[in-house]
């Protein structure tokens, strides 16, 4: 079975003090720590488990510069067999469609049974790349998968649908599946594991290698133009209700009533 997993290197924004870069269209990245996007971690784990069950080859792909190699190495340490870095200055400033275009150009020349993506990224949070890529590849897509089994030429996928429900569907391979949290518990990647794949060659592809014109990718190939990035205004500070449990509950009920919560 040939499995392709698309991943992204994202900044950890949880504890970081965010600052907008000078051009107003991005974050200052000097003090940020980067790692693989959480949902992409589920996708890699799902890919490696499929390989462990059914045999085959897992290929990890990302769009980014040489810093992005780090997440490809991580995928290799988890059990991916090969990795491709789509690296070209022309890819810069891409919207989800331009990313999907680049990924599609790479994947169309590869054999695949399943393409796995994270359902969403923790930075851009559009959740569009998987769907667009499926459309470009012209394969069925199941989004927000929380369970996955492949048997013969079909995949049985449990996935989230609206209204807090989950549903189980069956889909013919090849297909594209986006991973939601809950799909699996990704394995730990030790420092030693990363070191062991330090010498694995990572193939780099430019836009030209993929047969893409510079105008078809990156900012030029995007359909959404980013005007600027704004920090949300800081809200009021959280309040801790003091006093006895009963008094605190009474105050809470009163507050909720005041603000129409009850």
């Amino acid at each position: 079975m040939d499995i392709i997993v698309c991943i992204k290197r994202v900044p950890d924004l949880a504890e970081a003090g965010l600052e907008i870069a000078a051009d107003g269209r991005g974050l200052r990245t000097e003090d940020l720590d980067f790692d693989i996007n959480e949902w992409d971690d589920y996708a890699v784990e799902a890919a490696v488990r499929l390989k462990e069950q059914h045999g085959g080859v897992v290929t990890a792909i990302t769009v980014g510069d040489e810093d992005a190699e780090e997440v490809l190495r991580r995928a290799l340490a988890m059990g991916a067999d090969q990795a491709i870095l789509l690296d070209d200055a022309a890819f810069a400033g891409a919207d989800p469609f331009a990313i999907a275009t680049a990924l599609h150009a790479c994947i169309r020349s590869l054999p695949f049974d399943v393409v796995l993506c994270g359902a969403v990224t923790s930075d851009g949070a559009s959740g569009q790349v998987g769907g667009m890529l499926a459309a470009l590849l012209d394969v069925p897509q199941v989004a927000l998968a929380t369970g996955l089994e492949v048997d013969g030429g079909r995949a049985r996928v449990r996935h989230e649908v609206e209204g807090g429900l989950e549903r189980e569907v069956e889909v013919a391979l090849p297909c594209l599946i986006t991973a939601q949290s809950g799909l699996n518990q990704p394995r730990y990647v030790s420092i030693r594991g990363i070191r062991k794949v330090a010498d694995v060659a990572i193939a780099a592809r430019s836009a030209g290698d993929l047969g893409l014109a510079a105008t078809a990718v990156g900012e030029a190939g995007s359909r959404v133009r980013l005007e600027g990035l704004l920090l949300p205004p800081a809200g009021k500070r959280a309040e801790i209700l003091e006093g006895s449990l009963d008094a605190a509950v009474a105050t809470l009920v009163e507050r909720l009533r005041e603000r129409g919560g009850l």
Partner: protein, 693 residues
């Protein structure tokens, strides 16, 4: 009295008889030959298992090894922590040493009537031996009574797959049989000489019982008893290495070959590798991945259950019983390498992940209570870390721990806080605590290594600042590494993430090398242990309790009286006490505060009970039914304390949580030693004002 002491003559003469129609000496020779051959075969098969183990250098520092052999081995120094079982064991152990010569004599008499070992043939040895036999019988009775009727909880392990308790009854029965047979043999001799005496109580007792036997039958009975004794002795010898009583043979060597490295230093992934070399596989997955000494540990386990009895994980209902690690591994070693016949066909069950479950290994906090109590110095922490190394390499790490480890890798702290904010604690309350953040190239006579809890946890930061203000009050100039410090990697190493530990250690060593610092001090015993033993920086690394005791002794800190009507107790943090032997310094600080009323908990010093903070337990949920911290707070309350003084960030966090979750807020308080001392220096301040200076 001396006139009635009779030297037992070899009369009846077993060597001159011909039981079964075979000349006595020939039959005796056959018996001995068969027994020795069986014993040698069994022991050889066992030793072959050891040869499969990984290398482990254990023949250095022979003087220290000899000392341990004398104190812990022959001196039985760890036995008396359990008084009844301990005394019984010490008596049986000494009895064996005394009776060894009697047994050799009786074996010799099978060949030559009247055989005697010079020095062990006179009336003195006869009396000592006879009294010993009586005491041994008494010990067997007490031990059997305890096993059958008292049933101490530690004999019945809730996690045992199968019980080896029956083996104890076999051994007790054999020992009693040896005593009785020898007594009957002696009695027939006594009877022939017609004398009983207080010097030979057991033989006299037997002679009294034999009065009912006709005189003519006595010599024959004596010969029978003689043979019974020697056959039982041969059975006893051969039963030892196939049962848990192999410890009778292996425990003295096991103590001699015990770990001499500092208790807190975790073994390297593989002994004998040149520095920098990376082993192909890491950690313990199969039996043969253990070192040969760790396999010998399994052979030496007496199944006494002391380790699990003191294990905080076992006590809280977590799925860990250290004893079962030894017992399961031994059972597997014996099953995979049987004494007779070929190894069973087919693959053996997985050891780590199978017989020993992942959750069993993650339940350990590495508190070392088990190792400290083990009478035969079995090592547990190194084994558990070795097995965790395999789990980590295999990616099998609990989710909460993965997150903490990921943060350690990316940000140098398990909280996921930005590393550049690491030095901000020094003035996080708007004040200045006197500790300087040292830029690269700067120098200070004292360097405060904070470690992550003190750098980032707001509650623990207060301890760091209180300690800083104490140093300032004492006129000590102290710096800290600020954003160049990363986590000590202590817990990373103990959960088996050796690569991450190495990377953190290198960063810290570089940060220290970039500055000119004298001694290093820390408020975190885990950091103390990491720097002292894992980084091998040794004694220039101090715990704050040691430095504060030093400053008080030098008269640089003079605490005022602190008599607030409350009773204080000191909780020994595992990595300060059991791993580093620092018990006196914190108590000296408490003793220097005039009027402070203190009390010791029953489980104090090396018997201390873990708070539950080790092995990154602050970042994941345990599987126990209760929390260790809650049990410890109950122990403090039982001792009559209203304030628990500790000297470790993890302990403080866990105890404050336990006080809240058990509804004890206001009734019992926990403070760090530095915070307490600061209260005693600021007389006007009310007891609760810990941050004012």
């Amino acid at each position: 009295m001396s006139a009635t002491i009779l030297v037992p003559a070899a009369d009846p003469e077993p060597a001159s008889g011909s039981p079964l129609g075979i000349p006595g000496p020939l039959l005796h020779g056959l018996l001995l030959l068969v027994a020795l051959a069986a014993f040698a075969w069994i022991v050889r098969r066992r030793l072959l298992v050891l040869r499969r183990g990984a290398p482990d250098p254990r023949l250095d520092r022979l003087g220290e090894r000899l000392r341990r052999l004398l104190v812990i081995g022959f001196g039985q120094s760890r036995q008396l922590r359990y008084p009844v079982a301990g005394i019984v064991h010490v008596l049986i152990f000494c009895g064996f040493l005394v009776l060894l010569f009697r047994s050799l004599t009786l074996l010799g008499q099978g060949f030559w009537g009247g055989f005697a070992i010079p020095g062990f043939a006179g009336p003195v040895y006869a009396a000592v031996k006879d009294w010993t036999g009586l005491v041994m019988l008494g010990c067997c009775a007490v031990a059997a009574y305890r096993r059958l009727y008292v049933k101490p909880a530690r004999y019945h392990d809730r996690l045992a797959l199968r019980s080896h308790g029956g083996e104890a009854h076999v051994i007790l029965g054999l020992i009693a049989l040896l005593m009785v047979a020898d007594a009957v043999f002696e009695a027939t001799t006594l009877a022939a000489h017609g004398g009983r005496s207080w010097a030979l109580p057991l033989a006299s007792l037997a002679a009294f019982a034999l009065e009912a036997v006709p005189d003519s039958a006595r010599p024959g009975l004596g010969v029978f008893a003689f043979w019974l004794h020697n056959v039982a002795l041969c059975c006893f010898g051969c039963y030892l290495p196939v049962s848990k009583h192999f410890h009778v043979i292996t425990s003295l060597p096991n103590v001699f070959l015990g770990k001499l490295d500092p208790a807190g230093r975790v073994k390297p992934p593989r002994h004998g590798l040149p520095p920098g070399a990376q082993p192909g596989e890491i950690g313990v997955r199969r039996l043969a991945d253990f070192t040969w000494k760790h396999l010998l540990d399994f052979f030496s386990c007496t199944d006494c259950g002391r380790c699990s009895d003191v294990c905080p994980a076992y006590a809280t209902g977590a799925p860990l019983s250290p004893r079962q690690i030894s017992v399961k591994c031994r059972d597997e070693a014996y099953a995979a390498h049987p004494v007779f016949g070929r190894p069973p066909a087919g693959a053996r069950p997985e050891l780590v992940g199978g017989l020993i479950e992942d959750r069993e290994l993650w339940a350990c906090t590495t508190c070392r209570a088990c190792e400290d109590v083990c009478p035969v110095t079995i090592e547990y922490v190194d084994k558990i870390v070795d097995m965790r190394r395999f789990l980590v390499d295999d990616g099998r790490v609990p989710a909460g721990m993965q997150k903490a480890l990921g943060h350690l890798e990316k940000k140098g702290n398990p909280y996921g806080k930005p590393g550049k904010k690491r030095g901000e604690w020094v003035a996080a309350d708007g004040g200045d605590c006197g500790v300087r953040v040292l830029a690269a190239g700067a120098s200070a006579p004292l360097c405060f290594f904070t470690d992550s809890a003190t750098a980032f946890d707001p509650r623990i930061q207060r301890i760091g600042r209180a300690f800083g203000r104490l140093l300032r009050a004492a006129g000590a100039d102290c710096g800290t590494l600020g954003a160049d410090e990363v986590d000590s990697g202590h817990e990373a190493r103990r959960v088996g993430e050796e690569g991450l530990f190495e990377s953190l250690r290198e960063q810290n060593l570089q940060a220290l090398a970039a500055r000119e610092v004298g001694r290093v001090v820390t408020t975190d015993p885990h950091a103390l242990n990491a720097l002292r033993h894992d980084y091998r920086l040794g004694e220039p690394v101090l715990h704050h309790s040691e430095l504060l005791a030093e400053l008080i002794a030098a008269g640089r800190l003079r605490p005022f009286a602190l008599a607030d009507g409350r009773t204080y107790t000191f909780h020994d943090p595992c990595y300060l006490g059991r791993h580093n032997g620092v018990y006196e310094a914190p108590r000296a600080v408490l003793a220097a505060i005039p009027g402070l009323r203190t009390v010791e908990m029953a489980a104090a010093r090396n018997k201390s009970f873990c708070c539950g903070g080790g092995s990154l337990y602050l970042f994941r949920e345990g599987e126990g039914e209760r929390r260790m911290g809650e049990l410890r707070i109950e122990q403090a309350e039982l001792a009559g304390a209203q304030v628990v003084v500790t000297a470790c960030p993890f302990c403080l966090i866990n105890f404050e949580d336990a006080i809240k979750t058990t509804g004890r807020t206001g009734r019992i308080e926990v403070v760090d030693l530095a915070e307490l001392l600061e209260r005693a220096l600021v007389t006007a301040a009310p007891p609760a004002a810990t941050t004012g200076a």
